[in-house]
């Protein structure tokens, strides 16, 4: 675990810039005043926005009203008809990762989401996270994800205009599963291959800073400079800061 405290000293200018960026992203949009909800990872099929519970099944988006928390009532079903993998609510939108692309729903009326656009890609498994005007999508090739994709990648999609999502960057990955984004950091779970820490000071161009091959990872939750990583060997927790150092906190091992 000592390996996990490598330091990468950046120039003062870069640090300054990061602090600035972090300051802008410091407040989380989802900690609203009324209902208290938690945070899931990017692989989630359940998501809560305000008083609505979204469940993605293999083929559809199921919407439940949970104003009365103990008594969910069905609001609507939206059929998508393709292999749906994940759902990620961000501000007034829902980002749905499906086998053939990323679907963007307008969520202004939470109980009646409306399809705005679709970013199509090769057939693969693909969770998505969003920050600001960029969505980060990992595409994993492999048998259980349909054998369509030849290789795995991390795509950056400009969603400045959610009706016209556009890919601005794509780079090769090994076997990406979940991912997380916060401030100037992007974290990518590479399954058995490990865990990547990427710098997104330029949000269009993720640059790898660390690749912890001894941490098998499936999904990650990022918040308050803290990482919670789940993987086949257990649950890991780390603390990170703007100087790119990562501190090991604990592990709940698989026994």
């Amino acid at each position: 675990m000592k390996k996990l405290i490598p330091l990468l000293f950046l120039g003062l200018a870069a640090v300054g810039l990061m602090l600035l960026l972090n300051a802008c992203n410091g407040d989380k949009a989802d900690s609203g005043p009324s209902p208290q909800t938690g945070t899931g990872g990017s692989m989630a099929r359940f998501a809560i926005a305000e008083n609505t519970l979204y469940i993605v099944s293999k083929q559809s988006l199921e919407v439940y009203d949970i104003n009365d928390g103990g008594n969910p009532t069905k609001a609507v079903t939206k059929n998508l008809g393709v292999g749906i993998e994940t759902i990620f609510p961000y501000q007034k939108h829902l980002f749905i990762g499906a086998a053939d692309g990323m679907y963007i729903y307008n969520n202004t009326t939470p109980n009646a989401p409306e399809l705005m656009s679709k970013y199509t890609h090769v057939l693969s498994c693909d969770p998505v996270v969003v920050q600001g005007r960029y969505a980060y999508v990992t595409l994993r090739a492999g048998v259980n994800c349909r054998a369509g994709g030849l290789f795995s990648s991390l795509d950056v999609v400009d969603i400045g205009d959610p009706t016209k999502p556009q890919m601005v960057n794509s780079q090769r990955m090994d076997s990406p599963y979940g991912l997380g984004v916060s401030g100037n950091k992007l974290f990518v779970c590479e399954g058995d291959k490990g865990f990547r820490v990427m710098d997104i000071t330029d949000p269009k161009v993720p640059v790898q800073k660390h690749f912890f091959q001894e941490v098998p990872s499936y999904d990650v939750i990022v918040g308050n400079n803290q990482l919670i990583i789940t993987g086949k060997e257990g649950l890991y927790q780390y603390k990170y800061d703007d100087s790119d150092s990562i501190e090991y906190l604990s592990k709940i091992p698989v026994l």
């Binding site: 945070t39 989630a44 359940f46 519970l53 939750i221 803290q226 698989v254």
Partner: protein, 179 residues
């Protein structure tokens, strides 16, 4: 000469027909003597939710944080509830045994969890003693096939119960279902 040619052609044709009949070829993958068989359970056994003492992680799945708590899914088995007040010393509080569970979400004191096609509502006002208050059936459409492509499997018979798993077994005959 012509007749021999015709006869042999006919014979060849018949041979190819015969061949096809002996080995029905359903999908694009040839049957190799193995297939997937559904593992059934009684609906009553499936719906049993139990709060148990803390258990160690075996095959952890998705994670969810709420307040100072951390919920870790145990693939298809249930939820570990962890007190994460001190992330350096997370404390494993309890395990909620829910068959067919892979996903979780929390609002206020309510934990929502899937159990096969059902949606469970669990009161976690006291996270050490969670209580199921509601089970809504048929929320999540479930498909009666193994989570794989290019495989042969025994077709599901709903009368036998709920399919909780798929096992790969040797099969003498090619099963009717393919995906």
């Amino acid at each position: 000469m012509k007749r021999t040619l015709l006869a042999s052609c006919l014979a060849l044709l018949m041979l190819s027909c015969y061949h096809r009949e002996s080995e029905p070829f359903v999908g694009d993958v040839k049957f190799d003597g193995t297939g997937y068989r559904p593992v059934y359970k009684n609906p009553e056994d499936v719906s049993k939710v139990e709060v148990q003492a803390a258990q160690s992680l075996r095959t952890p799945g998705k994670i969810y944080t709420f307040d100072r708590y951390l919920f870790i899914n145990e693939l298809g088995k249930g939820i570990h509830i962890i007190d994460n007040t001190d992330p350096k010393k997370p404390e494993n509080l309890s395990f909620v045994s829910i068959l067919g569970n892979y996903d979780i979400a929390v609002k206020d004191n309510w934990l929502y969890a899937d159990s096969f096609s059902n949606l469970l509502v669990i009161d976690i006002a006291d996270p050490k003693a969670p209580k199921v208050t509601k089970s809504i059936p048929n929320v999540i459409p479930v498909h009666n096939y193994p989570p794989l492509f290019g495989v042969y499997f025994e077709c599901v018979d709903d009368k036998k119960g709920i399919v909780v798993d798929w096992e790969k077994v040797d099969m003498e005959k090619q099963p009717k279902c393919y995906r």
